[in-house]
Symmetry: C3
Subunit: 272 residues, 3 copies
């Protein structure tokens, strides 16, 4: 039996029928595929936000999953539409940087440029280009049959923090539903009460979580804690997000609202 | 294997458990059916909006799809509940006009009036009438076994534009998440740089897209463009929506917000 | 073929990728499971609201359904994570009272404490504890293989109304998308024009719906009606909700907005 899985990530919202229409197109080509919503609430045309969310999610899906990412301000222009097979996942998307986090971490085995049919709309390639390609792939079509070799993929510069030997300097890159502020400092892993900072090929840098000083928007937090509940309800807490980044939160509340802070705010960790 | 597909369209929102409950009822009758959300964010009790969204979507699904449409201000009254088989799709819904766009375009092969069981609630026929019928159909039940022949279906007058020989006059009939304003002028198709207006049995009327003058709410736009990106970011643009209608948008922004215009606003195209 | 069904109920919202990530984790363990959303819009960390919504929904699903409930303010603390098999449904959740309504009505056959792996995050047990357990169960794992016997489950005191022999006294316990106010008075069933109040083992108490006097927030309503449309558009109406509770609504409008009333408001029914 066909066990294909397609995961959708768009900025279409769910109040219109656009996402439902894409699913109809997919099912018309592969009636038994599982279709999963990653989210459709990416801020309109915010490519960087979509790239971040995709980066936090794709590795938790089966490696054969087909991801369809439609955040596409350039729809109808000359930007190429692509289908990309990697070490973990197949990605169907406009080539506008939305795959930057994936391409940073995975090997690309093949990248195909999808043709835009003459009868395609100029405003809804989700329906007319990306969903049909995904449906065909789910139904067993080989990637190479969908188009021709793609031009090199566009990659956005990653917003990585800077380590100056005593301090990590970074910024808030995401704010979730709860008002938790996720930064680009990390990836950290807990080893007991010690935080280990991943440094790629170099050995991880170990830090005493209890001795770290965090600054965000004029506020200072002492120590990185393990849980929201490590502080009183309503209090600020620094902790490690589920994707290993430094996160600033309020136990039972919203750090974004309490601090009046959002994406782009500067954050530092003194670890000297 | 059962490959039935049920698509849901309601005004229930997704913050309550109503939609989830309908899915439970369906799965209790057909555990392997695919259930797809068209949208649940129809404005409460807005039958016309639901009819429009259904009209834009149903043809993109497989022809055997079962659509369950529950926008039902008359729940518990004498309005009939129906299941309707057409040339493209089976529709389970209250008979209040919500199927108007479908019935305008498709041939109805059979229309059944669904019985309301004595133990049914008077407030949630989505759970007690429509979902059970859809689940039975998905599981293979014949339409005629679900009830008796329905009375003629209620059809809302369609909001079609008027062609006076020099000007098309219409109105805004939908505003999407992006603030794009969709009108009832069309259906248009691009033929290169020429717009062809569908006129049913008559030959399409060809128009020079670059020479058209559009008026909306005191603003004049010159030319219909092919893509959002044909104008500068922040500028108004007239183009053809993904369902072939005249659409007024702002590249990278919201036409509804910028113009302060919504559903019902008058729009004209001078093509003389 | 695997016909497992997993239903999700969380306070994660749908604007982040958290729910999608949980689905990826589940599908990595059981690629053919059906995953259904009950809702993800529970107010952040509102355990009682989640318990109520679960209580209205679970019985409408097949009895073998696996429910994953993640409203978890104590994530990362010592609260136990559990998997519970009952007469109707298997439930995977933090043990914080969110299963109170289920445990009140169903027999618990087995309750297992799920281990928290050393490499688990401290902030997202939905991904690292609950979704993996649900995926394994969906794929056929026996409940007992997932952990050890759980401690007795936490049960929140149920908010039940009081019957003083002439009056039922209760409160508003839920407000839905339409502004309908659901109370804790009931369960009622219609018998023609008579309302029968369920009293457990005792015989139901029959009431003349037309003679009942309802008070809510200084407003008096005479009679309980069968449908929203029993009153004029814009008028208040008392009726019986789809789960058998006294409900105060406005035909075509929002009772919550019109009365300025929300959860916790006192309500009485005089039936003497």
């Amino acid at each position: 039996m066909n066990q294909s899985i397609i995961a959708l990530l768009t900025d279409f919202g769910t109040s219109d029928a656009y996402v439902g229409i894409m699913k109809g197109v997919i099912l018309s080509r592969c009636p038994t595929v599982q279709i999963i919503d990653l989210t459709h609430e990416v801020a309109p045309q915010n490519i960087r936000q979509a790239a971040y969310l995709l980066g936090t999610a794709y590795q938790h899906f089966p490696a054969q999953t087909i991801f369809v990412v439609v955040v596409d301000p350039g729809v109808g222009t000359q930007r190429q539409a692509v289908a990309v097979r990697t070490t973990h996942g197949i990605f169907v998307a406009p080539d506008n940087g939305v795959l930057s986090e994936v391409v940073e971490r995975e090997t690309v085995f093949a990248a195909i440029r999808l043709p835009i049919a003459a009868e395609s709309s100029h405003t809804f390639h989700g329906r007319d280009v990306f969903a049909p390609a995904a449906g065909l792939l789910a139904n067993g079509a080989a990637l190479r049959t969908l188009g021709t070799a793609a031009d090199p993929l566009l990659r956005l510069p990653l917003l990585t923090g800077v380590d100056n030997g005593r301090t990590l300097q970074g910024e808030v890159i995401y704010c979730d539903r709860f008002g938790n502020l996720i930064t680009n400092l990390g990836v950290f892993r807990w080893r007991g009460n010690v935080l280990a900072l991943d440094r790629g090929d170099a050995a991880p840098l170990e830090m005493d979580a209890a001795a770290l000083q965090i600054q965000l928007s004029g506020r200072r937090l002492l120590a990185v804690r393990q849980t929201y509940a490590a502080v009183q309800t309503g209090d600020l807490v620094a902790l490690i997000s589920s994707d290993g980044r430094l996160e600033i939160a309020v136990n039972g509340g919203s750090a974004a609202a309490q601090l009046g802070v959002g994406i782009g705010a500067e954050v530092t960790i003194d670890y000297a």
